[in-house]
Structure formats: C-alpha cells, structure tokens
C-alpha cells in the first residue's frame, strides 16, 4: 500500500555566492526602517506531494528529484522536510 507524503524543499544559493535578490530585499527592508537585519537570502520553496510505500522510500525519491532537476548543485544547496500526510 502506498501512502501520501508531503515534502517541502528549501533551495538557496550556496554560501559564498552573491545573492543579488537577497541583498536588494535587505536594502529595501532597511529603507523601510528595519535596521536590525544581518542578512537576507532569497531562494525557492517547492512543495511536492508524492506517494511511496515508506517514508524512507519517499525521502530517497525526493533526494533523487532534487539531484536531477530541482537543484543545480553548482550554485545551489537545499534542505527538506518530509512527513506523512495526515
């Protein structure tokens, strides 16, 4: 029996790379009066609902998808969170 899993993938630019979007947003926030920011980074948020027999299996597939399509390891890194849909 397959179960439904809800995965959330957070993709951001590798540390060390320029993040023009993040810095532009930071400056905009600062000019709005938020002066206490030490960093803003901008990335992608991808929700994937997938079916698999086990959580392990789902996780495995998710990682594959990240490696193949969702993330370009040359410039991006990612983390994820996965759980069974209740």
């Amino acid at each position: 029996m397959q179960k439904l899993f809800q995965a959330k993938v957070y993709v951001s630019l590798k540390k060390g790379l320029a993040d023009p979007q993040g810095s532009t947003i930071k400056e905009a926030l600062e000019s709005l009066g938020y002066r206490n920011l030490s960093e803003v980074r901008f990335g992608k948020y991808i929700e994937v609902k997938l079916r698999a027999k086990t959580k392990k299996g789902a996780e495995q597939k998710l990682k594959e998808m990240c490696g193949k399509l969702l993330v370009n390891p040359i410039i991006e890194e990612y983390s994820y969170h996965i759980e069974e849909e209740g």
Binding site: L13, K14, G16, L17, A18, P20, N72, I75
Partner: protein
Amino acid sequence: MKEPERITLDLVRAHGLTEEEYKKIKDMLGRDPNFTELGIFSVMWSEHCSYKSSKPLLRMFPTSGENILIKAGEENAGVVDIGEGLAVVMKMESHNHPSAVEPFQGAATGVGGIIRDIFTMGARPIALLDSLRFGHLGNGHNRYLFSGVVGGIAAYGNCMGIPTVGGEVYFDETYEGNPLVNVMCVGVARRDNLVKARAGGLGNPVLYVGADTGRDGLGGASFASRELTEESDKDRPAVQIGDPFKEKLLLEACLELLNTGVVVGMQDMGAAGLTSSTSETASRGNSGMRIDLSLVPRREEGMIPYELMLSESQERMLVIIKRGKERETRRVFDKWDLHAVPIGEVTDDGYLTVLDKDRRVAEIPVKFLTEDAPVYMREEREPEYLGKIKDVSISTIPEPQDYDDVLKILLASPTISSKRWVYEQYDYMIRTDTVLRPGGDAAVIRIKGTEKAIALTCDGNGRYCFLDPYEGGKIAVAEAARNVVCVGAKPLAITNCLNFGNPTKPYVFWQFRRCVEGIADACGILETPVSGGNVSFYNENPKGAIDPTPVVGMLGLIEKMDFLCTPWFKKEGDLIILLGECREEIGGSEYLQLIHGLKAGQIPRLDLERERAVQNTCLEVIRAHLVSSAHDCSEGGLAVTLAECCISNSGKERGAIIELEAFPEILSIRMDALLFGETQSRILISCHPRNFLQIQRVARRNKVPCARLGVVTGDRLTIRRIKKRVLDLSLKELGEKWRKGLSHGDD
C-alpha cells in the same frame, strides 16, 4: 583560504603556467614571486587574457580602414565611425563553459560582461545579438541547456533595457556537452565622448565601483586547479550569479559621470578582475598604479590578497578620475545608490603595487604582465579526417523521390526553422529604434536625430569550417556582409568570436589558422576591417574538439532610412529574380546532413570578387528603389530561401510560382543540388516587372548573373520544370512546419 608556505612546481602547474614560464617570471623579477604575484602572473599570462596562442595569427586581420577610429586591440573594443560625430563600439564574447554547467546564470553573466565592455568606453549600449550552438534537441539535457541559456540572456538583457535584436542558433552533435554562447553588444557614442581604458596623471585617484568582491570564479581566467582547491571547492563555484539591476545602475551612473568630464579612464573588471583592470589601464597609460586591498569592499570575511586580486565577481568597474573631482564623482554614484571607493592612485613608476594596509603584497612592472607576456607559435598539422570526408561523389547519393517532403523536413529542422521561440523571449523593441525586428536577414536600428540606421547580424557555420576552415572562414564574413546588404546597408566592419578546441592539438591549431586566414582575406576584399573580437579555446567534449566555429558579427550602415529593405515577398505579380548563379554544390549542406546523414564533401567555394559584385549589385538596386524585397540564400539553399520569402512575414504570406527552365544551369545540375545546394554569393530579390530591365542592366555592369525565376502569386509555393511540378505546397503547410520547428506548438 590560506596562503601556501612555499611555491612549488606543482603549485605553478596548478596555475596553468609551464616551468619555462615560471622561470621567465623569476628572471624578469630577479627574484621568486610570492603567492599573490604568482596568481597575478597566472591570470595575466593565461590564454584568456594574453592571447598567447592566437596573437601572432590575429595579426593577419586587416584592422584599419577609413571608418576605423580606434583599432582592434588598442582599447576594450574597436570603434567605427558612422558620421555626424557618432561612433559605434561593438564586441562579441563567449561564455561557453559557464553556460555548460549553469545555463541560465552562465549565459546571463556573459551578457553582463559584454555590456560592460561597451559602456566602459563611454558608449550607450543599444543592441545585443546572440550566437548559440547546442547539441540536438532530442536530448533532454540539451533542451535544458537551450532553454536555460535563452532564459538567462533574456533575463539579463531585458532587465538592462537593451534590445536583443538578432542572433543565430544551430543544433549539431558536435556541440554536445560544449554549447557555444556568444553574445555581441553594440553601443553608440559621440566621438568626442569616448573614454579610454587608460590610467594617466600622477596622483589621480583610482575608484572601485559596483558590487562587493567575493570568491567568485577565482582565477576563472587561468586555471581549474584541483590541488589548490580540494577543500575550498565548495565555496568556490566557477559560475557567478548575475545582477542585472546593479549593472543597470552602473551603466547609468558611469554614463552620467562621463558627462561631467571628470573621468580619466575606465575599465570593467571582467576576467581576472582587479588584476587585469589595474595592470591593463596602467600599461596602456604607460604609468603605474598603487592600490590598497584593505579598502576593497568585500562580501566575505577572511579573504586574502590573492583572492581579492583574482576574484571575478561581476558588476564591478575601475574608474580613474581627475584629482580633486572626488565630490562630483561621489554625487553621481550616490544618486544611483552605488559606492565608489577610492582604493589607490596612479603612479609614474611603471609598477603595479598592491598593498594590504601597510604590507606590500605585490610589486610587478605592469608591462611584464601585459606586453611582455609570452606568445607562442603552436604546432599545426592538417587533420587526417579531411582526406576521408572531402571527396564524396555526388553520384552515389540517391535523389529524393519527393521534394515536398524534403522541403518540409528542412523547414521543420530546428536549425532552419523560425527562431521566434527564442527571440520573443527577448525584448527586441525597447528603446523604440528597432526598425527591422528579428526575423529578417539583419536587424536594423535607427539612430534617432539622424537619417541613419545601422544593420547588425552575426553568422558562422561550424560544419563548413570543419570541412574546410579556410573557405568556411571566408563564408562567415561573406554571409554576414550579404545579410547586411539585403536590408540596404553598406557593410562597414566586423567583430568576431573564434570558438575552437584545444590549441595545443596541432590539428586544432591548423583549423584555427585556416579560419583566421579565410576571415582575413574576406575582410580585406569586402573592405570590412576587424574592429575587435574574442578567442575561446578549449571547447572540447569527450569526442574531441568541437567543429571550428568562428562567429562573425557585422555592422552595416544605412545612410538614409528609405534604403531599408526587407526579405519577404510583398506584391502579387512581382517578379522573382536570382542574383548570382547556382552550382552543383551540395557538400556540407544542411540537406546532406539532414536527409542523408552526411557531414562531408567539398563545401561551396566562395569567389570573393564575385561576392563583392553581387553585394554591390544588390545594394545598388535597393538604393535605386528598384526592388520590393531581398533575401540571401544560405542554409537550405534556394528552396528554403524561397519558402522563407513566402512565409516569413507572418499574417501577410505570399505565394510564388517558379519555372526552373529559367535557370541557365538547369540542364547541368541535379535537382537536389539546384533546390538545396548552398552555393554562395546568391541573393533572391523581387521587383515590379517594370524594373526588371534596369536591374538586369545593373547586374550586367557588375558581371553578375541575373535570372528571372518566376512570379509572386497566390497562396502556394510551386516549383515547376517544363510545366511539370517539382514541388508544390500550400503556404499554410510550409508555415506550420517552419513555425513549429522549435516551439512544438507550445506557445
């Protein structure tokens, strides 16, 4: 990163320097270089910055002419006079390797780099063109590269507000794993507003403007050094992230600053960043420069001098201003929310002196880095493959049964089909000067406030150059010139980007030499000097070097707007005329490749005198307002050219009937060669019947064959031979094939 204790030979090699080169450095300095200095030498002596393998051959290019204001090599880009006190600055550059690993950012930062090269000289960028090569689209990875590259060019160019008005795209397995992404930028300046990339005036301040420095593409110009980077590999990606917004601010601020008259010299920090911009401006100005790295704005902590000097962070400029003008300068950059940081000053001792606060981290005579860099004559040998593939006997190739099918296949092939899917992602109309939009033979950009316009195109055919690099080089120039002539412009000058394999392979270097010779000869006879360019070596995939692919960017001038001509048929009843002749030349053709799977044969031979005569004829009849349309015959031959004339004006398609007996050659040439052969020096024009005699007269005076092929009529393209149909297709069918070649109907 940490500085290594000692400079070992391994470290030298990891920097892409040979043992002899290292010895030369030691001899020049009279001592061992330190680590920072080693880095500086390695990037300045890299192929990318020093042109050490190509320089001797590039000297063959004709670089002067009555319209050349600044010659190639003297500055960041050559400058061409277009009259009325105006000058055009243009240059093309490759970003092949970054685009192979990160197509979107790789292509985007390529656009950013070439734009900086243009406004560095005080010119406002007014147009971009892109010349692209990929492996076949059947492969998902190639589709990813293709759409990523186009998306990246669009993202950067559109955001900058510079129209991308032309370009080309080819698909061939030779580019599998090594796509080519060449971008050309064209700018216009008032002649007296041009800026030089020179540092002069003892004590003048040197400013750093733009983005902060990070560890981006460290040493990208020189080496991919495993040994050095093992553990820091993670935080040292070879691809940068483009920031077109910052670049737009830089562009506007720099041009505004130029108008205040405080600028002495300016250079973008491209490859080899701070290193090349400081040493090159000092070298050109016969001066020296002292900078203090502790003042350089940085994005990351703990960066050592080596890293700061070699970083290739994007969107940065080096500006040398007149002493005492700091306040004016700051006002302009403040307005645009940019920091302009004084990091040093111009000296007169001929040295590049790099400090880190009080510590002297490098001290090198600038000429050692520039003029005295090594130059090599590489070994060369004619490749063996040529013997095998050149002689393909046409008689062994079966003639197709159905020419309708062949034409449909050709039109639908991605290389020939409509490139709308590509150029509609580019803002080609911004600045409201694009008078002839993508889809014609060349783009036409008017110059507001004058009667004039310029025509721009780029061309190059790797398959031709693989089969015959000399003729292929010639053809690249000739076709580009022909494209410009077809829209009513006089060819003025070229820029180029030479994409080749590893130059230390003798056959690659032979290909390079022959291409350069071909380009040089064609430029000489067609009187289009080379105003600048770029060389990209080491384009290889596991199967070996890519096909030699020189890309020529051509600038033409339309003196009066009403000379403008377009490629598509316009009026029912107009006559269709071919300038030039058809020969039995199917070697190297798109037809041979696509229908028969053959990349072989003798490519069309180009007679430069004939080419010139055809172009002169075409220009003369356009300027005398005798023709309704003009389109050059290129990939896919006569049949494809005819089809394009019929269908390329979307919504206003026009049919044609062609009678083949009109060709004097008809008896001696095979039908497939006649329809699909790619004989050079041919232009298809259409005209009102009453103008035919006059056109013939002009052609005869220029000794150019001029045959009447048929008439513009109806809604089909019909080709007949002695009343018998050879090919007959509705415009609807032709249009559908041609339009869907790239887009597969997704809109």
